[in-house]
Symmetry: C2
Subunit: 394 residues, 2 copies
């Protein structure tokens, strides 16, 4: 709770801020970009980064899709314009499994995000003021449609692979369903075809915590003074997520029943005396509140809850029957948020449809976040999978 | 959120309210009742209920220990003075596994509770105003010590069995450790020897949600107008707990991705349009807010987080070495909050110490709450276990 620096009103990247490695692509300036919710956006900007060089035949392009609080900075250090280092630093780069010496790699901040792509903190084209509560509900499909515009802009006709974990995997799945002829393969990690009731439940609790925060002001907080913006609701929402991202065993090993600030409080029992695990969760919550926008957290969380490849397509079977991309589905045995059975379902559904699919399981105690923590277990299979696709004729 | 009746400021039973089946025992009127936190209480009242008749030799007394939001009303209908029907109606009663024709059964509302036992909503002896923020931190051991006073008052020299699930099981364990010669057996269901970091994490999130509720007023809200008391923070805290009390599979089967109020909202996508699982969680949160006191929820939740039979006793091994009571440990295979490995740990620890112990696992998909939902699976083993104790000489 205490901090020398006042909490910024929003951790969003705003026009005028240092661009860092971002590039920008703006579309729908003369036509409107229709969203699933029925609202249309204009002047949609996508912030993205690329690594490597697109081949003359355009066959080596890979799209990376980021998760909830990620952004376009998939690899590279933190620095001017980038609040965090790359979220997949060990996996993406020259000579790494996603080899930027060989592939043209693209990563875009999602629609609704807060790191350069149009989202709730962005200026509304009509008045230049932040959208705030005016920002419409977006879906994973809307994110993918905006990425398809970027694809055209970049001159990529087909992605060699679309790759993502968690919400990134939802995007990969939607790419495979929406644009079966524009992707040659997908890698779907720790994700699902449809958000389950329990996943929605965790999301709903976070939403309610944010709504309870008086400083959230129904989403219109951008003109608040520093330190008077939302933060505590987002912090609590993130605490919920952080527990679901990790695991019982690792929490026990790492924190046990240790008290925080033990030197100061001794063995006194107090209602607000924290255990070490509480300090850890609050630290992560506050850290997120410094670098992320509360409304983006809401928007993206809702997009995940709305994720359902079957929606409007008759049935799950009919939706998945559209997929022709060879697939690598990746589960994590200790994942309590997107349990491994969900990635096995993807794998078995595709196999039943005659689509080449393999299933890999990360053997890690770290829970959902193992797709970032133990990504080394993916190195060999991922490199092999991509090499196979690169050398195939499809 | 919307409701015709304004939310009561507290769902606590208050002096002057209909007593229902409660009886009351007040102690520490001339001496002080010392708590683990260093504070001493005076004029401690315990609200309790009894069923059946204590044998002349006093050998047939069973103590039931309730869980977080339970109370002394273990069996019997809701009605005047009792906001809920008995929490273990199917298990406790004439001819039932805990047979009140045969045993003298006692259940007391815990210290810190809100259904007649001294808690944060109770009048402070000094000024008659609710304790509110003045109520000290209590522990499971404090609860058990207060039950030991009640035991003397009732003329019970030894409990034939101390039985409880969840927090009730924590009390059973502490009885076995603190008063090894005053209990002849224990039944510890879906509980643990030490709250884990993950369990503390869930508790901490609930605490933070309550603290964020402006109507909680740092715990001093009892003079608020009806409808202006805390409720939303407690509702969110309960939503967290409710997810951990149930299971992924059952949420999927029961709610899937159904929308609430579908007739009204159609397929419109809106940020605050609820899925059925959200409606369910909010319903349970609001229901609790009507019948429970927010400060009691905090007090009891903290007591659970502080639960550690090893605290101040050198080690877990040394603490558990005090236990001599034959034990039935009960796990639930789908319990994500108190996973079955924790009850197996109790069982194996006792066996290793030469204490008779059996382990039973409830085969239910319902998660933690299965100890109430599927208690029928306990009927036969529980009846047999109690019969064995009743007929033993110990």
């Amino acid at each position: 709770m205490s901090s020398a620096r006042p909490l910024p009103v929003t951790g969003a990247w705003r026009p005028g801020d240092e661009p860092g490695h971002r590039q920008f692509f703006t579309f729908a300036t003369d036509r409107r970009f229709a969203l699933d919710c029925g609202v249309a956006l204009s002047d949609v900007t996508i912030a993205y980064e690329t690594w490597g060089v697109l081949d003359a035949d355009g066959a080596n392009a890979i799209l990376l899709c980021h998760a909830w609080t990620g952004d376009s900075h998939a690899t590279g250090p933190a620095g001017r314009g980038h609040p965090t280092s790359g979220w997949w630093d060990d996996t993406v780069g020259p000579g790494k499994p996603i080899d930027t010496d060989r592939y043209f790699v693209v990563c875009a901040n999602v629609l609704g995000g807060c790191q350069g792509t149009t989202g709730p903190a962005s200026p509304h084209p009509l008045d230049g003021q932040p959208y705030g509560s005016r920002f419409p509900v977006v879906t994973i499909r809307d994110m993918v449609r905006s990425q398809a515009r970027l694809m055209e802009h970049l001159g990529v006709r087909r992605w060699m692979a679309v790759i993502g974990g968690s919400m990134g995997g939802m995007q990969a799945l939607e790419w495979a369903v929406m644009y079966p002829r524009r992707i040659r393969s997908m890698v779907a990690i720790a994700t699902c075809m449809q958000a389950t009731a329990q996943q929605i439940a965790w999301g709903a609790i976070g939403r309610r915590a944010i709504r309870l925060d008086p400083k959230w002001r129904d989403g219109d907080y951008y003109d608040a003074e520093p330190g008077d913006g939302p933060g505590e609701g987002l912090e609590i929402a993130r605490m919920v997520a952080q527990v679901t991202f990790r695991s019982d065993n690792v929490f026990t090993d790492r924190f046990g029943r240790e008290l925080a600030d033990k030197a100061a409080v001794g063995d006194t029992l107090g209602m607000w005396q924290r255990f070490e695990v509480e300090r850890y969760l609050e630290y992560h919550g506050q850290k997120l509140a410094r670098r992320f926008d509360t409304n983006s957290y809401l928007a993206i969380g809702k997009a995940m809850d709305l994720h359902d490849v079957a929606r409007g397509r008759g049935s799950l079977e009919r939706a998945m029957a559209r997929v022709i991309a060879p697939t690598m589905a990746v589960g994590i045995w200790s994942d309590m948020l997107y349990p491994a059975y969900q990635q096995q379902q993807i794998h078995h559904t595709l196999l039943a449809n005659g689509v080449p699919s393999e299933y890999i399981e990360i053997d890690s105690p770290h829970g959902h976040d193992a797709f970032l923590i133990n990504s080394d277990q993916l190195d060999e299979p991922l490199e092999r999978f991509l090499d196979g696709i690169a050398k195939s004729d499809t």
